[in-house]
């Protein structure tokens, strides 16, 4: 269905950040890559509701502001960050520890497809068909760190991939942002240690955006959704009044006209473009 491309370190569209690595790998890619600066949002799979909500909020906030976001398509924080990005109609990049055509874990298959539909990208250094072996994941983290201009760790336990990503990012000189948590909560131990060791604590999506702007400058310009057109990733039903800047009554009327014209349909919380 989607073509797999190969990007070589000396190619024209190879992500600049990866050249900071000691061994810039060849990359297999599905979807659209951009050279715009990206921000990684990572964390543990064994996360809490607190972490899920914040990962979603960061993904959403970053993409609304115009940042591309990067994560690892893992369960938990990674998936929430991707979903938040899609909700914000932003560009999501997923870096896999398997071949780009091997979806792991399988429960994120929908998310995998949604990222591609929305114009995001799936990356991996492993050839198509490569199985998701455990030992490959730490290596994948150095790509996440390299490709990003900053890394946000939402929740991390005592050890795990997110801490590896944070350490690698720091070694590459990327700013590392960390969400503080209760000091006795297993899913926040790693985060709180990073803060003790000098990482930037972040106190919410707005705080993160302000810090990023100070350190990295303004994000690449974000194009707001054009009037009346619903992006492929859909819009949240309850967000329509704020997106369209009108009253709920007007938003409902406009939505109905679009439904009658076959330009929109509702699926659960989402409003998607018409099927026709």
């Amino acid at each position: 269905m989607n073509d797999v491309r190969v990007m070589a370190p000396d190619g024209p569209d190879y992500p600049m950040g990866l050249l900071d690595l000691e061994d810039p790998p060849h990359l297999y890619v599905i979807g659209e890559t951009t050279t715009a600066p990206a921000v990684a949002v990572v964390g543990t799979r064994r996360c809490t509701r607190y972490g899920l909500n914040l990962a979603d909020a960061f993904g959403h906030g970053l993409s609304r502001a115009g940042w591309t976001t990067v994560s690892g398509l893992a369960r938990g924080i990674d998936a929430a960050a991707h979903r938040g990005t899609l909700r914000g109609e932003g560009s999501a990049v997923a870096v896999l520890g398997s071949g780009v055509d091997v979806v792991y874990p399988i429960e994120n298959a929908d998310l995998y497809r949604a990222i591609l539909r929305s114009g995001g990208a799936i990356l991996s250094e492993y050839p198509p068909g490569t199985r998701p072996d455990r030992w490959r994941f730490p290596a994948r983290n150095r790509i996440i760190a390299g490709i990003s201009s900053a890394v946000v760790v939402v929740e991390a336990g005592e050890k795990g991939g997110a801490l590896i990503t944070a350490r690698l990012a720091a070694e590459l000189g990327r700013p590392v942002f960390v969400v503080p948590g209760d000091i006795d909560r297993p899913a926040s131990i790693g985060c709180n240690r990073l803060i003790r060791d000098g990482a930037h604590p972040v106190l919410g999506a707005d705080d993160l955006l302000a810090e990023l702007e100070l350190i990295l400058g303004k994000p690449p310009n974000h194009v707001p959704p054009s009037e009346g057109v619903i992006p492929a990733t859909g819009l949240a039903f309850d967000d329509l009044p704020s997106i369209w800047e009108c009253t709920p009554a007007e938003a409902l009327a406009r939505l109905a006209r679009m439904e009658i014209a076959g330009e929109a349909r509702r699926v659960g919380d989402l409003v998607l473009p018409g099927s026709g």
């Binding site: 929430a80 949240a236 309850d238 409902l252 109905a256 349909r265 659960g268």
Partner: protein, 490 residues
């Protein structure tokens, strides 16, 4: 020596007169009671005898026969204590004849008069037959609130005897009691976010429309539903009386409460509890306790299908017929239906954050439970999404008071046309041509079913009323269509 008094029985929530005939004979002491009394009425004998003694009056040591007529009407409860006592005292010439006065009240052994449950019924008969009525003084305001009723309150049998000896014509009847505002209901300001569901609730309240809310667990559907009472207009006095009499027929006391009733039966409720019934004298069910108010069915898909089917008649006609020994009895049941449901058994179907892990066959079966005929009865169908973490700390929502004000304005326009828009005759809607074309297009391309189209047109009239518009315009109709979101069986 014979005398009679009048009392009240509730049949289908309506007051019917009951004659209480008393005869004191010459034979030796006995006390007989006839006329289809239930256990509570049969026990009146003991209470009456004790109360009369406590009032310091001699109870006739002769054969006392009391008959309640008409005999085919089942009689229950303790309201007949006072008329039986006064009938006997009149028959034994202790007090003057009662003539037509309607008497209702329970007697305590010390002679005190307790309210019983039929104060409103006594008032209704008093007004209808232009006769005085005698009830417990604690509820005389309820009887007196019926226009045309002449109500007298007594707090003991002795006081009743004194009053009757003095003659009711020489005493001023009681003043109508003040309307009671029910307990404070939670405010819509507590609800953050949910702009669409809030709008749906306002429109539903303004037109008395039936509303279905669907969404994942914890999204606040029940919180929203409970807050509709705070934005509905108070009941007219006559409607408050109607509702209170239905409650009385179900053995529940409800004073002159003008806050509309809110009933929320559990999905395990029996069919009789829901629509009324029971052996002997049929008792009104939840649909009638919610008369002039709101019936809220939480977890709609969990209700047995056969129970939901019984809602069809009250939803269409505003009354419910309860089978009763070879005939049937009608109870008023004109309520606004609010319902909430999860979209699927796990609750996360259509949720952007969490995948639904229901098997397709189970999902289909669950969703089809609320399908076709049932879904067509809802005027508004709205998705209630999960509130974003960021919104929890956001500003409070609009409070109930200003919404209630808009709702009341919209209701006034409807009452000038004669009825609330839930029952609007579509010919009276005054639709502009573009509005009519829009709804025809929506039905034509399957966005709405034909019946859904009719529902939407009534809702559009309500939206126009909220805007104080004379004619239904295209944008009113469009919003009404937007407020009837899909519910597909997939």
């Amino acid at each position: 020596m014979y005398a009679a008094a009048t009392s009240v029985a509730l049949v289908g929530g309506e007051a019917r007169p009951v004659r209480v005939e008393a005869h004191v004979g010459r034979q030796s002491e006995a006390f007989k009671l006839s006329g289809l009394p239930d256990t509570a009425v049969r026990e009146a004998k003991d209470r009456v005898r004790a109360a009369v003694a406590s009032a310091g009056i001699r109870f006739p040591n002769r054969t006392v026969t009391v008959n309640l007529a008409p005999a085919d009407l089942p009689k229950g409860g303790t309201d007949y204590d006072l008329p039986i006592a006064l009938g006997i005292l009149a028959a034994s010439k202790e007090i003057p004849p009662l003539r037509e006065a309607v008497v209702v009240g329970e007697l305590a052994l010390d002679g005190a008069v307790r309210p019983g449950s039929n104060a409103f019924g006594a008032g209704v008969l008093s007004a209808r037959q232009n006769v005085p009525c005698l009830v417990a003084s604690s509820v005389v305001g309820e009887s007196a609130s019926i226009p045309g009723a002449r109500a007298y309150g007594v707090d003991s049998l002795a006081a009743a005897v004194d009053l009757l000896r003095e003659g009711l014509g020489n005493v001023e009847p009681a003043e109508p009691g003040p309307p009671i505002v029910g307990e404070k209901v939670p405010d819509l300001a507590d609800i953050r976010g949910q702009p669409m569901a809030r709008r749906a609730l306002e429109v539903a309240a303004a037109g008395g429309h039936h509303l279905l809310m669907h969404g994942p667990p914890g999204s606040g559907k029940t919180m929203l539903a409970r807050r509709i009472i705070g934005i509905l207009p108070p009941l007219e006095i006559e409607h408050a009386v109607e509702t209170a009499m239905l409650w009385a027929a179900a053995g529940r006391r409800r004073g002159l409460v003008v806050t509309p009733p809110f009933r929320s039966p559990h999905h395990t409720a029996s069919k009789a509890a829901l629509v009324g019934g029971g052996s002997g004298n049929p008792v009104p069910g939840e649909v009638s306790l919610a008369h002039r108010g709101v019936l809220f069915l939480d977890e709609l898909a969990e209700f047995p299908r056969s129970h939901l089917d019984t809602l069809r008649q009250p939803l269409e006609e505003g009354v419910v017929s309860v089978a009763r020994r070879g005939s049937s009895l009608d109870f008023p049941a004109s309520f606004q239906l609010l319902a909430a449901t999860n979209p699927c058994p796990c609750g996360f179907y259509g949720d952007g954050r969490r995948p639904c892990d229901c098997r397709p066959a189970i999902l289909g079966r669950y969703r089809s439970r609320i399908s076709g005929p049932l879904i067509d009865r809802f005027d508004l169908i709205v998705r209630v999404g999960r509130v974003e973490a960021a919104e929890y700390s956001g500003p409070a929502g609009e409070a109930s008071a200003p919404i209630a004000c808009r709702v009341e304005h919209a209701r006034e326009a409807q009452l000038r046309r004669g009825q609330i828009n839930r029952y609007l005759d579509l010919g009276d809607g005054r639709e502009s041509q573009p509005a009519g074309r829009l709804v025809a297009m929506a039905v034509g391309n399957g966005v709405l079913t034909a019946r859904g189209g009719d529902r939407v047109r009534r809702v559009a009239r309500t939206i126009a009323d909220l805007e104080e518009a004379d004619q239904v315009e295209e944008h009113h109709m469009a919003e009404a269509i937007g407020l009837r979101g899909e519910w597909r069986d997939e």
